[in-house]
């Protein structure tokens, strides 16, 4: 996977994760272009599209669009389920997640993503294992608060 973007129906970017080196300018350009393209698509359309020499896989959950760019050889359907598993992880951690959770706890959304995907590849698919790692970190956080 080359990058993952989360954006709202209004086109506001909520999370961006880049697995290839790109300049800030290029990132902004890509984001603008893709947000526009994806938002223009109708609900019944297919979740995949060709874009430059990449494949875009996207899915909408409530007010949020999850959008991944994968390479020519990558599997579209499994990417769709990467998105779904990520949503499940967020949901489990936040308890029925909504857009606001991701806005106000963006750092958690990033930490969970890093446990699940690293360098653009799936690292750990077990929901239990990912959440265990995050919960351990949260525990450390509590401890250090108490300590201070």
């Amino acid at each position: 996977m080359q990058f993952m973007l989360l954006f709202s129906r209004q086109g506001k970017l909520r999370l961006q994760k880049w697995y290839v080196p790109l300049s800030d300018k290029e990132k902004k350009k890509i984001t603008r272009e893709l947000v526009q393209t994806v938002l223009a698509r109708k609900p019944k359309m297919c979740s995949f599209l060709e874009w430059r020499d990449l494949k875009i896989v996207y899915k909408r959950y409530a007010s949020l669009y999850f959008c991944c760019a994968i390479e020519d050889q990558d599997n579209e359907l499994i990417t769709l389920e990467i998105i779904h598993r990520y949503v499940e992880l967020l949901d489990k951690y936040f308890g029925s997640v909504c857009e606001l959770d991701i806005i106000f706890n963006f750092e958690k959304a990033y930490f969970i993503l890093d446990e699940f995907l690293l360098g653009g590849e799936v690292q750990e698919t077990s929901k239990k294992n990912v959440l265990k790692a995050i919960e351990q970190a949260d525990l450390l956080q509590e401890v250090s608060y108490l300590g201070s």
Partner: protein
Amino acid sequence: MQPHVPCPLSTGKSKEAEIKRINKELANIRSKFKGDKALDGYSKKKYVCKLLFIFLLGHDIDFGHMEAVNLLSSNKYTEKQIGYLFISVLVNSNSELIRLINNAIKNDLASRNPTFMCLALHCIANVGSREMGEAFAADIPRILVAGDSMDSVKQSAALCLLRLYKASPDLVPMGEWTARVVHLLNDQHMGVVTAAVSLITCLCKKNPDDFKTCISLAVSRLSRIVSSASTDLQDYTYYFVPAPWLSVKLLRLLQCYPPPEDAAVKGRLVECLETVLNKAQEPPKSKKVQHSNAKNAILFETISLIIHYDSEPNLLVRACNQLGQFLQHRETNLRYLALESMCTLASSEFSHEAVKTHIDTVINALKTERDVSVRQRAADLLYAMCDRSNAKQIVSEMLRYLETADYAIREEIVLKVAILAEKYAVDYSWYVDTILNLIRIAGDYVSEEVWYRVLQIVTNRDDVQGYAAKTVFEALQAPACHENMVKVGGYILGEFGNLIAGDPRSSPPVQFSLLHSKFHLCSVATRALLLSTYIKFINLFPETKATIQGVLRAGSQLRNADVELQQRAVEYLTLSSVASTDVLATVLEEMPPFPERESSILAKLKRKKGPGAASALDDSRRDTSNNDINGGVEPTPSTVSTPSPSADLLGLRAAPPPAAPPVPVGGNLLVDVFSDGPTAQPSLGPTPEEAFLSPGPEDIGPPIPEADDLLNKFVCKNSGVLFENQLLQIGVKSEFRQNLGRMYLFYGNKTSVQFQSFSPTVVHPGDLQTHLAVQTKRVAAQVDGGAQVQQVLNIECLRDFLTPPLLSVRFRYGGTAQSLTLKLPVTINKFFQPTEMAAQDFFQRWKQLSLPLQEAQKIFKANHPMDAEVTKAKLLGFGSALLDNVDPNPENFVGAGIIQTKALQVGCLLRLEPNAQAQMYRLTLRTSKEPVSRHLCELLAQQF
């Protein structure tokens, strides 16, 4: 909710208000960081987190990096974590900072605290810069295979290493750890396997031989997963599908290799593939879309592997049937993927016929799918499944679709139709009809390449010329016809109008007035083309001479504001009144057949489609084999007058040669015809591209006919006389280092008269500019008789390139404008850096470059005496190192080098095998970039 996060969204009513608030906040944070009081860890974390939030809202952040780096060394986890996140999101290549960051990472990696270690590994994987690679690439393999590393650390280490390897493979040392990495495929922890497979796959792609042992391990792992019950794998089962991500990754890994050689392994694998195909037929275990997606993800990856092997007819046909079911599935996603996957199946000789049986479904999809991206896939599939048996049906369906097609894909459909019509034309009248239909239906999307091509084919095939003339004549009678139709019509009638002149309904005056009725509505380029048609008419039909001269003489032509039109009118008028019938007939002779070359249409489609290029090539491969299977479908008979068999019209099978040397023409062609100048042309024989598209005043003429030969002289040397005629001598001297070069051009005036307005310029045709930068210094506008001026060129190679820049020299000599275009002797091999290597390394690299496209080979007759010393000198001049004791046959030459460009380096290996008895050579080039291999091979083959 975190207390420290600002909440600009709730108040930010307008963009301005938000920016104002944020600027205020940034000023506040800046003052805190700069304040006298040292901030405690908690406050530092709070403000760094705010900065991050502001950045993620889309604002630029230019401070706070130092504070984030400080957080990295905090012993409080939460502070460290925010520090790492900031660094990951906002990397700065500030080297001072990177050193500090690396220091903190180093400490965490050594901490033996798995949570800290993972944080550090995540950071390296997220940043993935070369500096980090230099600092850690050697440590991470150790962490990965260490017996005491925790599972989670191993997982992160594997993917962290993958990221570093992708960014800078040279930094990751191969060694003893690689064998142990392969055995991670056997690890008990599914998460470790999942992470490790990605790393192994990437390593296999680069060094397939070193990792061969992974095949049997991957097969047995896959087999265990595929045969496990849906609950066996506990948390690794996803909606009743056991380990879908791992399965897909394993199937991907196997696609790095040909089918397993070991019969037992192969048998086990085929069993797995069959199991997956069987499961697809079972009723679903859940109605959830996640279940079917996960299951089908494995199925599609299985089909990809089957297609990759392309050796099991039974599996290929089963795959095709499975996809056929999906073609009518209610899920749009599945229909899309089935169409896409079938495209590759269509190129296999085993499944091509099976794919063809779905033609009606696919045509229906083209007509009824509501999503344009699905329709596009359908069009792609029709293109891929097309062969001689169904070409007429497919082309007519695509033409019908074109009438309502989305604007975004019209041009591509036009190209596809044009290619298919040409490739499968049994009779060329069908081809002509199809292209004219294209122009009629979608004239705006018919690019130059398409209509040039129809002209080339009509010119080359005399059996279709009469039909073409008749058809365009009829098409032009439509009250509103597209300008491209006028261009094609004008050209064809100018060449072959005589073939229909016998019919009183299309007598010469009728033809002329029909064309001329369109004249005033057309653009300058088309009008210029029509003027050329008119002068050709004067030759073909003397009875039209008076009328046409009248048109040329009209003030609107002779005093036309457009230089090109005016010049053509003046020159054609003079030509028609001064020249004798014989001269006229010679000058305006019918066009000679065009040299065959790769269809420019196909080239254009490849450019447009990028990755599709490969499929076009596959296509040709399949087509050859297909013809063989069918007992050789009779290729269209080629006529005596056309030099090439029609089967090769697209030039698909031959290595496409560089663009054929165009015939010089241009604004001043008549000056050349009537002067005794050295560049005088015997006949007005323009290629349609050149002649009829009037070059603007800034454009330059095409290179002189000898340009290619002159260029070839300089492939292996850097100095000498580039060009010489009675007036002018051009000498060249150049030196190249890495991707840079400097060239001195010496212009000598051989006459005793001063040259005026002397202006040599360098022109980059096409998009060459993005590949090669040439900076020229101005020279004096006057060159005295007998004098010499020097021009310095600085050259930088940005990317690999195929065509050389052009050098255009213009000046006035005794009142006449002279112009001359040459090819600048800058070829890609000038940026060669020789590389010495031992035989073993050479062969290893040679094997690594074993993809069919990476190799280019030519077998050719010796044009010069076969002298080993001369050959050596030429190869060294070409730029590669000569390697001794590599080839077992001492007669052969082996060389290696690296082409240096700014963007990338291309490693090149070459082997030249002389056969003195047959007076032949075989030349083989292997490089990591396909066009480079081909181009180098062509350049070098011309030297011997």
